[in-house]
Amino acid sequence: MAANPVPRHERRPRSFYALALFFALFVVFLYGPVVTILTLSFQGPSGGLTFPMNGLSLYWFERLWSGGGTVDIGAAFRRSLALGLTVLVLTVVISVLAGLAFRKRFRGSAALFYVAVASLIVPSIVVSLGIALEFRIVDDVLRPALASLGLADARGNSLGLFTSGLGAHLSWTLPFGLLIMFAVFNRLDKSYEEAARDLGATSWQSFRFVILPMIAPFLIGIALFGFTLSWDEIARSSQTMGSTNTLPLELAALTTTVTTPEIYALGTTVTAVSFTVIFGTLAAFLALQRRRRTRLPKAG
């Protein structure tokens, strides 16, 4: 009865091809420009900011590395890295704690939630200005008062990488962390905690031995968010970093001021760091998953 032994082929609708083309163009749009600067960063020593390429070399990377440029990128790089890592750790810890709190009922939970969402949607420049003002007031008003009590230096500036800067970044990363925690905990059945308690685990044990291992892969996600959001943050950093600049601020300043392909070399380097972090995280995530699945010999 089966007349044709070869099954028919299923045809894709025409819209598929149109949309696939659109998608391809979108990807080109997304990556194309970055590819140009990646290419241009390998200009020869006499190359300029635009095509055509004048030779092919690592000259601009060397210059960047040797600090031959106008500003100390290395220091900004290290500052951003330190800040990013601090933000990463704090974001993970604070988000997990808050996530745990939201599993229970407590007064003010709705308010806290709305504040978190608000922190996400209030324009960053406003938050940044607010923090700068707050610290200005602290310095202008509180500091002399504290100084008269001998508690602080009368002159001084409280704005800084790890005071206002850190706070500004947390106000940006924590809402993301919290929302991810919601997603994670929504999918985490309460019966696991009950089972742990049933088996004699204390609250801490139940967190340490049950909840934490179960949510660990998602914490990697939060960590990634925390780090990259901080690593790339500009608007909130703009007024809050005090006497130092983070890498993106430095970059933003340089975009208009550097006259050589060194800026592209820098761009390439920064992109490389981002990619390393992303793929490192992904690899860690996958490794965790795989270990879960296959760390054990197949039995029976």
């Binding site: 005090g242 006497s243 300043a253 208009t256 006259t259």
Partner: protein, 388 residues
């Protein structure tokens, strides 16, 4: 004891790694550069007075900085070459003749009655606000290869011939003076003091700028030295007010760029070292030591070879090759190839410097960068121009 570190706040353009290196070798002092934009220098001085030990800022910012009480007078007695500082800075004269003093001329804001004063003295005293590092006279930079016909007046900045290929300096207090130079050159307006306009003058100036902007005169605005270099080098812009070293920087890229002297004269600027009130004694001593070293020749020559003028001309001359001095300061044709400090070729033998000698250039200054009394009003109007 550990080496002293001086946190040196200024715009990026004033921060030569070579100077830091040499100072480190000569004095055993670490120079730690903090690079920010011109506006930010002033902002830092006011809001974060203890975030630096030495500031290199422009004289025109002083009327804003001094009242904040964050800047301390420098003791002239501790500056060995204090009385050899160029007369144009000390007195506003070049070769005995008074130059144009419109705006915040350095001579008006150089002296303080006491170390901690918050008002200017008005006459020479023992305390100096800033010790000059570099100064120069600005004019229009052009791309002769992309422009036909001569340019000889500030009016060219607003000339519709350069529609879409001119740029404006977006530091309001300086930008408006460029505009004023252009407008008065065109004969549209006359000003009492271009550096201290009345509201009416501001309104008219900005009105004219808005008109030009709407007509598409400007390609871009810039706020930073290197930005102007980029715009010029990439050919996006063919005419704009420029800083002399910026022209030099374009030229080192092998691009034809001219620092065009104009019949109305120059807009001058000067910047110098200041000390924060909050400085500690050890850093203060080091700062004086560094300033004295700075004035002693090597640093001056290093900067002069980028096109800046320096505080103490005598020591600069000593530290330069005669042919270099002749080219940079005397307006003579270069006897040999002129090289930048990093060894790149700037000019072939035989070239002369745009605008001629030091005296010719500084002698023809028409006004100085300034902060006006109506600054707040002016900034609001400037924002209107940006928004237009």
């Amino acid at each position: 004891q550990e080496k002293v570190t001086l946190r040196y706040l200024s715009t990026a353009v004033n921060q030569s790694p070579a100077i830091a290196e040499k100072a480190g070798a000569d004095l055993g002092i670490n120079i730690d550069y903090i690079a920010v934009t011109t506006d930010d220098v002033a902002k830092r001085v006011i809001t974060q007075p203890n975030s630096f030990d030495l500031v290199d800022t422009e004289y025109f910012a002083l009327p804003k900085l001094l009242p904040s009480g964050n800047i301390m007078g420098l003791d002239a007695k501790r500056i060995k070459l204090a009385d050899q500082i160029a007369s144009v800075i000390r007195e506003g004269t070049v070769d005995g003749k008074t130059v144009g003093l419109d705006g915040t001329a350095p001579s008006k804001v150089l002296y303080l009655p006491s170390e901690q004063a918050t008002e200017f003295a008005g006459e020479p005293t023992e305390f100096l606000t800033l010790i000059p590092t570099t100064y120069n006279a600005d004019t229009l930079g052009i791309r002769p290869d992309l422009i036909d016909g001569p340019v000889d007046s500030w009016a060219a900045l607003l000339d519709p011939k350069f529609k879409g290929r001119a740029a404006m300096l977006n530091i309001p207090s300086i930008g408006i003076m460029d505009a004023a130079m252009a407008l008065s050159a065109r004969g549209d307006l006359t000003y009492g003091d271009k550096g201290n306009m009345t509201r009416e003058e501001i309104d008219k100036t900005i009105g004219a700028l808005i008109e030009a902007k709407r007509a598409g005169q400007f390609r871009a605005f810039w706020t930073d030295f290197n930005e102007s270099v980029n715009l010029m080098a990439s050919g996006e812009v063919v005419i704009q007010s420029m800083w002399s070293p910026a022209v030099t920087a374009v030229r080192t890229q092998g691009i034809d760029c001219k620092y065009q002297p104009l019949k109305e004269g120059y807009r001058a600027w000067a910047s110098g070292f200041g000390l924060p009130v909050a400085i500690n004694d050890r850093e203060k001593d080091a700062a004086y030591e560094f300033i004295n070293w700075f004035l002693s020749g090597w640093a001056g020559a290093h900067l002069a070879k980028q096109g800046y003028y320096t505080a103490v001309l005598e020591t600069t001359k000593e530290a330069m090759e005669p042919y270099e001095w002749a080219y940079w300061f005397e307006g003579k044709p270069a006897e040999q190839d002129i090289l930048a400090p990093d060894g790149k070729l700037l000019e072939k033998a035989g070239a002369t410097r745009d605008g001629g000698s030091y005296d010719e250039r500084m002698g023809r200054v028409a006004c100085w960068n300034a902060v006006m009394d109506e600054n707040i009003y002016m900034i609001r109007k400037w924002n209107e121009f940006i928004a237009a």
